[in-house]
Symmetry: none
Subunit: 211 residues, 4 copies
Amino acid sequence: MPTRKTDRDAVIDAALELFRTRGYHHTSVAEIAAACGLLKGSVYHYFAGKQEIAAAALDRAVTDSREKIFGLANDPAVPPAARLRSLADAVERYFAGREGGCLMGSLALEVGDSIPEFRERVQRYFDDWKAALTAVLEGRYGAARAGELAEDAIARAQGAILLMEVTKDPAVLQRACRDTVALLDGVSKTGALAAAGTAAKDRPEPWKQAS
Amino acid sequence: MPTRKTDRDAVIDAALELFRTRGYHHTSVAEIAAACGLLKGSVYHYFAGKQEIAAAALDRAVTDSREKIFGLANDPAVPPAARLRSLADAVERYFAGREGGCLMGSLALEVGDSIPEFRERVQRYFDDWKAALTAVLEGRYGAARAGELAEDAIARAQGAILLMEVTKDPAVLQRACRDTVALLDGVSKTGALAAAGTAAKDRPEPWKQAS
Amino acid sequence: MPTRKTDRDAVIDAALELFRTRGYHHTSVAEIAAACGLLKGSVYHYFAGKQEIAAAALDRAVTDSREKIFGLANDPAVPPAARLRSLADAVERYFAGREGGCLMGSLALEVGDSIPEFRERVQRYFDDWKAALTAVLEGRYGAARAGELAEDAIARAQGAILLMEVTKDPAVLQRACRDTVALLDGVSKTGALAAAGTAAKDRPEPWKQAS
Amino acid sequence: MPTRKTDRDAVIDAALELFRTRGYHHTSVAEIAAACGLLKGSVYHYFAGKQEIAAAALDRAVTDSREKIFGLANDPAVPPAARLRSLADAVERYFAGREGGCLMGSLALEVGDSIPEFRERVQRYFDDWKAALTAVLEGRYGAARAGELAEDAIARAQGAILLMEVTKDPAVLQRACRDTVALLDGVSKTGALAAAGTAAKDRPEPWKQAS
DNA sequence: TATGAATGAGCGTTCATTCAT
DNA sequence: GATGAATGAACGCTCATTCAT
């Protein structure tokens, strides 16, 4: 068993955290290096440049979230509602107290389209998230509507994370997660993100529901 | 009868657009100056520094959105549902096709807490938005629940704008606006952001309300 | 009359001298700046980058040599032999005592083809030189042979300048210039760079020609 | 039966080629190492530093040219004219098609005097060349004049190599070599570099001359 | 012997800012 | 009020060199 965490990983870790909390352009290579006990120049032993560091950080984030969050939605042995719950819990737990928002959201906004290598990875991340949500929702809503609901849930969560930057209040994110879970609640249906866009008649009357 | 746009205003306009699309740290004073036909040095006649430019741009955004968007919610002569609709329409119209996201959202994520002058203004913006939505919703949902619904709607819209950076698909934002409008829909009930996660008892029974 | 020599010119002067004596890659922008009393960053007020400085230096060298050296060959009022003499004298005088060789030769060898902007200018310089020599020689040798003789004379002069770097002995350059002048010598005939390589028969019998 | 090329030799080969084509300051130790399949650090097992690599490369070039080129001039069994021809042929063959010029010429110009270890070796190279040419020429021209003619021929060849960098035309070098050979041509006379301004007939038979 | 990690100085460049004109 | 020159710190990056393994 090799020593866990190579130096390269340490650089990625530090970069991930700094990019997430301070943004890409406002984080210098020297800061990343200092954050893992290296000098500026040494970082270039592992990475060809700042962009490559960020690309590796995004890759790491994609992989991690796939393994630790979105993977939870794929176990066919677990009923969809439970899978959805653990997925939502994971999201809430991951972001609720965290300062600095979401790497993917931040870089999506900050760097936008200007660096294709980034965009591609951010897209993969959101695709993963959508796929996970769709997987648990399509049993009840059908693939198309489930996809929409997934997108809506992701938007709401991302927006909540963004608002937390300003309000420092995790309640918005918590409600977002709760409402998402409610999409597969008991008899339920309806719920938060569910309803709109669904013909009234195929919606169970919501007022009968408990939360 | 406003006096013709001064140079100062031109700087703010240019800065607003550049900060929005390229981020604060990735926009140089020289670029701002060039964008309004000035030289770098001249900008410093109007502003003490880059931060002051950004603060003014944020002020402008707060004022503008207050006048052109959130103000729509305040006319007591118009029924709440109509006011909500025009508010949601304004949001959708403003952001739907636009590249580069939302200044406030971008700066909130990019600069985060590091510059209090920014944070304060971003907060004011979101407070305005929340107040506008709450104003039209509280008739049906009560102040407390209306406030939550307002936050949820804002989160979802902001998240949709963020996702649009990646997906280039305005549908998520459109659904978000539609669902928000649905909060005061006729017989309505439920409604996108409304239902899930709210204890039945502390929610004004929505189905009894008229718009 | 404006103050001779703007700062931009001072940068070019300093760069010309440094590039000539120390080479392009071994000369730093900071050194150029220091040589004219500026800081590194200030140089970028005048030039977009190091390459542009060098391009301007090469332009200057092309212009200067055109005006001060090769121009001497173009006065139709002066007999060719005298024009050739003053041209050769100018070359000898310019390079004889000088340390550091010839900017054009140095950059041609050091940067070679890798920077087209440089190559183009170096080529123009040698073309000018060749044109000047050809102009005075073609009366006696015909255009084609005059062009060859011009190239040969240039090669020999450049090589002599190069050797001077090592030997510190101006004699080789002096002989090169003398032999070039001899190409149009009185009764003259052939000589130095002229003769060899041309079959006697296809050579206009030089001793019969008038200048 | 030389021992198979050692790694040290491989480094020298790679360095020679890189210094010649890209210049000393523009060639990094890492590039040299990569060019012979080593890692940067490993090079320092064979050489104390970059300067030592270059010194070894220059030594190699001196030795090689002595053996393969200038040596041709020393065989007393061969008549001078033939020796001169093979010498000139070797020079032409070696440089005619070659991109990147002559190591010695390049370093002479680029590094100039700043590194005495280099200068010394470059000087040795040119001395060898001069000695070789002088050896074959002194029979006809006498030692002193032969030395001058040798220098002139070297200058012209070096200049031609330099010009080839710009013109890509080997003709100038070819003429230079041809003219050099002509210095010992049959009835001789003329002779490119030989005569300088002196028509065959009005030249005292050179082989009678003293300096 | 060979490696790869690390260093630290320096490079070309950018940029917010100042200031004399 | 507007300019353009100048600054100086910082940035991303390169590189010759060292050294433990």
